[in-house]
C-alpha cells in the first residue's frame, strides 16, 4: 500500500479518472463553463509536460517553448484557411479541416521546427541556451505577426471543424475527453521515457554532462531527440488549443507564453510526472478565479508566485511532500528528481 502511494503513476491515473467526470459533474453544479476551463488546463498540461521533458529531466532551460505551441496551432489554422479558400498551401499541399489530418501535421511541423532550432541551440549551454531559444521563438513570433496572408497580428478564425470519427468537436464535453485522452497518452509516454535508458541518460546530462561525455555518451544527440519530442508535444497541445479556441494568433508564441509554460512546470514541480499537470491546473484556475474576483488580480497573483518559490522548494509537488512529512525520495526511487540546489551551469562549473 505504501509503495502504491509513493508511486506517482497511481496518482496520475486517479487524477485523470476523476477529471473524466468533470463534464458530467459541471452541469450538475450549475457551472457548465468549467468544462472549457478544464479543457484549457488539460491542453496546457500537455504543453507544460512536454517542456518538463527538457527542462526538468534534461536540465535544458528553453525559453522559447511557445514557438512549437504556436507552430502546431498555425499548422491547423493555415491548413484550415486553405481548406476554406480551396487553394493548396505552397501550391501542392491541400488544406484540411479534419483533426485526423491537421493534428499529425501539427506534430510533424512542431518536430521539424524543434529539430532545426534545437540542432543550432544545443551548441550552446546555460544562460546562452536560454537566450538563443528565446531568440528563435521571437523570430517566429515576428514572422507570423507580419504574415499578412494569415491574418498577421489579428489571427485566423477556424469556424467549422469536421467531426473526428463521428465525434463532434464543437461539443465541449467531447473535446475535453479527447484532450484528456491525449494527455493520458502523453503522460504514459513521458513516464516510459523517464524510466528508459534514454531517460537515465537525460538525467545524467542534467547532473553532469561532462561525466556522461566522458563515459562515451553522445549527449548532443540525446538532447536533440528530447528537444524534438518536447517540440512535438507542444505542437500537439497547440493544435488542440486552436481547436478549442477556434482561433489562432501570434499571441500563442509570444515570449510571455513561453514564460507561462515555464512557470507551470516550476510551480508544479520540476522533473516530476504529475507536477506540470498540477502547475497548469493551479496557474490557470488561479488566474481565472482571481480575475473573477478583482480586476487587480495580478497584484495578488504576483506575491502568491513569489511565496511558492520562497517557501515551497520543488514547487507544489515539493510542498505536498513536505506537508506529508516524507523525506524526499532517493534519486533511484524517482527516475528524475528535482534539480540539484545549484544547477551546474558551465560558467560556474568551469572556473573552479
Amino acid at each position: 500500500m505504501r509503495n502504491l502511494l509513493r508511486d506517482e503513476r497511481a496518482w496520475v491515473v486517479a487524477l485523470l479518472a476523476l477529471a473524466a467526470f468533470i463534464p458530467v459533474l459541471a452541469p450538475m453544479l450549475d457551472s457548465p463553463a468549467t468544462v472549457g476551463l478544464a479543457t484549457r488546463i488539460v491542453i496546457y498540461a500537455i504543453a507544460a509536460s512536454s517542456l518538463n521533458l527538457i527542462l526538468g529531466h534534461a536540465g535544458l532551460v528553453s525559453f522559447g517553448h511557445a514557438a512549437y505551441f504556436g507552430l502546431g496551432g498555425y499548422a491547423v489554422g493555415i491548413l484550415y484557411a486553405h481548406y476554406g479558400s480551396g487553394e493548396p498551401f505552397l501550391g501542392f499541399i491541400p488544406g484540411s479541416n479534419s483533426l485526423l489530418v491537421t493534428l499529425p501535421a501539427a506534430i510533424l511541423v512542431g518536430g521539424i521546427g524543434a529539430a532545426i532550432i534545437g540542432a543550432l541551440s544545443l551548441r550552446t549551454a546555460g544562460v546562452q541556451f536560454i537566450m538563443i531559444t528565446l531568440a528563435f521563438a521571437q523570430m517566429l513570433y515576428f514572422l507570423f505577426v507580419s504574415l499578412k496572408a494569415y491574418g498577421g497580428d489579428d489571427g485566423l478564425a477556424i469556424r467549422r471543424v469536421a467531426p473526428v470519427l463521428g465525434m463532434n468537436l464543437r461539443d465541449a464535453a467531447t473535446l475535453f475527453w479527447l484532450c484528456l485522452g491525449l494527455l493520458a497518452v502523453w503522460l504514459f509516454l513521458m513516464d516510459r521515457i523517464a524510466r528508459s535508458r534514454f531517460g537515465r541518460v537525460l538525467a545524467g546530462v542534467r547532473q553532469g554532462e561532462r561525466r556522461m561525455a566522458a563515459l562515451g555518451v553522445r549527449t548532443y544527440f540525446y538532447k536533440l531527440v528530447a528537444f524534438v519530442i518536447a517540440g512535438m508535444g507542444a505542437a500537439m497541445a497547440g493544435a488542440l488549443m486552436v481547436n478549442y479556441l477556434r482561433f489562432v494568433s501570434p499571441d500563442m508564441m509570444a515570449w510571455t507564453k513561453s514564460g507561462e509554460l515555464m512557470i507551470m512546470v516550476i510551480l508544479g514541480g520540476l522533473g516530476t510526472l504529475l507536477g506540470p499537470v498540477i502547475g497548469a491546473g493551479v496557474l490557470v484556475a488561479l488566474e481565472y478565479t482571481l480575475s473573477g474576483i478583482t480586476e487587480h488580480w495580478q497584484f495578488i497573483e504576483g506575491p502568491i508566485l513569489l511565496l511558492v518559490v520562497l517557501f515551497a522548494r520543488g514547487g507544489l509537488m515539493g510542498a505536498v511532500r513536505q506537508l506529508a512529512g516524507r523525506r524526499a525520495p532517493a534519486p533511484e526511487a524517482v527516475p528524475a528528481g528535482e534539480l540539484p540546489p545549484r544547477d551546474a551551469l558551465p560558467e560556474t562549473a568551469t572556473h573552479g
Binding site: A33, K148, D154, G155, M241, L245, I278, T289
Partner: protein, 395 residues
C-alpha cells in the same frame, strides 16, 4: 490522510469555480438583466478598458440603475489583453451566468477569439470599439452590432481631410499589424494626392528616430500616422522633438489623438489636424450631458472610447425598451435595435444594412484654448458615411 489531502488539492484545482457557483441563484423572474463586459484592464491598454467600463456604468447610473427601463446588472472582467483569457471569460458568462448580451472588447484579436462563441450560442454582441472588416462584410451577423465605426472609416475620413487640406504629397506610417495595414489601405482609399513614403513600424517599438529621419529626407507636404494608445504618445513626442511638426503638418485619425494622448503630449500637439465621429465640444444636448456627467463623476475628460461605450449603453437601452427588457428573442432584439432609436452623443446615428454605423465625420484641430491644448471641432468631412464592406454582407 495523504490521499485525502492530495485528492482535495487536485480536484479543487481542476474544478476551478465549480464550488463557488453552487450558491448562485437561478435566473428568477424580476431579477436584473445581466450584461457581460469583457474588456482590457491590465497592461498598456488598461486605460482604454477603464474608460469603456466607466462610461457604460455612467449611462446606467444616469438612468437610475436601468437601461431602457429594465433593471440591469453588468459583470465586468479583464481579458488581460490575451485572446485565450477573453474566450474563457466569455464562456463563463455565456454558460454559467447565462448571459445573452455581451460588450466591451477593445482589440480585434480578442474579439476574433470571442465573437464566434457568442454568436453561435445565440447571443448578441454590441461592440463599443473593435470592428474589423470581416465582421462588416462576408462574416457579418445579425446579432453583431458595431456602435463605434468600421475600422476603415477612421482612416478614410483622414484621407479625405488630407485631400481637403490640399496636401499633395503624404508620408504615411502605421504599425505592422492588421489594424495598421488596414489603416493605410483605408487612408489611401479617399486620399487623392501622391504617397511620398509608406512605412510600417513595429508594435513593440519605442524609438522612432529612424522613421523621423526618413520623413525629413522625403520632405512631404504632410504626414499621416496611425499609432494607437501609448505608441501614439511616443510617436508624437518624438515627432515634435525632431522639430518636424513646425515644418510638416500632421493629419491623424481619432485613435492616435484621444483626450489621454493629448494630455500626455501637451502643448506640442497644437496645430495637428484629425478626424473623428465625435468630440467633447459637440454642441448637442446628449453630448453635453454626457461630458458634464463624466467629468463630474471621474474627474477627467472622456475619451472617444468612453463616448462609444456610452452610446453603446444608450443603444442597448433603446433596444431593451422595444423588447420590454428581454434579450431571449434575438429576432425581436434585432428589430428593436435596428432603428437606433437613441439620442446619440454624436447627433446623427443610424445602422447600415450590416449593423455598422452610418454617420458623419468631422475635422478637428488641436488648438490652445485658454492656455491648454484642446481638440476643437471644425467642419464636416464626410456625410452619412458607411463602409465599403456592407455590399458583401447578407444575413
Amino acid at each position: 490522510m495523504i490521499l485525502n489531502r492530495r485528492g482535495l488539492l487536485a480536484s479543487g484545482a481542476a474544478l476551478g469555480l465549480g464550488a463557488s457557483s453552487l450558491a448562485r441563484p437561478a435566473l428568477a423572474q424580476g431579477a436584473p438583466l445581466k450584461i457581460g463586459m469583457i474588456t482590457t484592464l491590465s497592461g498598456a491598454g488598461g486605460y482604454i478598458g477603464q474608460d469603456i467600463r466607466d462610461a457604460f456604468m455612467l449611462a446606467i447610473e444616469m438612468e437610475g440603475g436601468k437601461l431602457g427601463g429594465a433593471n440591469v446588472q453588468v459583470l465586468v472582467e479583464d481579458d488581460g489583453f490575451r485572446p485565450g483569457q477573453g474566450k474563457q471569460v466569455a464562456e463563463k458568462f455565456i454558460k454559467n451566468e447565462r448571459i445573452k448580451l455581451l460588450t466591451g472588447i477593445i482589440f480585434s484579436n480578442i474579439l476574433g477569439a470571442v465573437v464566434g462563441d457568442v454568436l453561435d450560442a445565440g447571443g448578441i454582441y454590441v461592440s463599443p470599439n473593435a470592428s474589423p472588416s470581416n465582421l462588416a462584410g462576408k462574416e457579418c451577423h445579425k446579432n453583431f452590432w458595431s456602435i463605434a465605426w468600421q475600422n476603415d472609416s477612421l482612416h478614410e475620413s483622414a484621407g479625405q481631410l488630407a485631400t481637403n487640406l490640399g496636401q499633395k504629397k503624404m508620408f504615411i506610417l502605421a504599425p505592422n499589424y492588421q489594424a495598421g495595414r488596414d489603416a493605410l489601405t483605408g487612408f489611401k482609399r479617399l486620399y487623392k494626392g501622391q504617397i511620398a513614403g509608406e512605412v510600417y513600424t513595429r508594435l513593440d517599438q519605442t524609438d522612432y528616430a529612424a522613421e523621423m529621419a526618413q520623413i525629413r529626407a522625403a520632405a512631404p507636404d504632410g504626414v499621416y500616422q496611425f499609432h494607437p494608445g501609448g505608441l501614439g504618445i511616443t510617436f508624437l513626442r518624438q515627432y515634435v522633438q525632431a522639430g518636424l511638426l513646425s515644418n510638416v503638418p500632421m493629419t491623424l485619425a481619432a485613435p492616435s489623438m484621444d483626450a489621454t494622448t493629448l494630455a500626455a503630449v501637451g502643448d506640442a500637439a497644437v496645430g495637428i489636424n484629425l478626424t473623428s465621429h465625435w468630440n467633447s465640444d459637440f454642441d448637442n444636448a446628449a453630448s453635453k450631458r454626457f461630458v458634464a456627467a463624466f467629468q463630474q463623476k471621474y474627474n477627467r475628460m472622456p475619451t472617444y472610447y468612453a463616448q462609444q461605450s456610452f452610446d453603446a449603453a444608450l443603444a442597448i437601452g433603446a433596444a431593451l425598451k422595444g423588447t420590454g427588457g428581454k434579450v431571449d428573442d434575438a429576432e425581436a432584439f434585432y428589430r428593436a435595435m435596428k432603428p437606433a432609436g437613441f439620442e446619440s452623443t454624436r447627433g446623427k446615428f443610424s445602422f447600415g444594412s450590416n449593423n455598422h454605423p452610418i454617420q458623419d465625420w468631422y475635422a478637428l484641430k488641436v488648438e490652445s484654448v485658454s492656455g491648454k491644448p484642446a481638440l476643437v471641432t471644425k467642419d464636416k468631412v464626410l456625410t452619412n458615411h458607411g463602409d465599403v464592406y456592407a455590399a458583401q454582407c447578407t444575413f
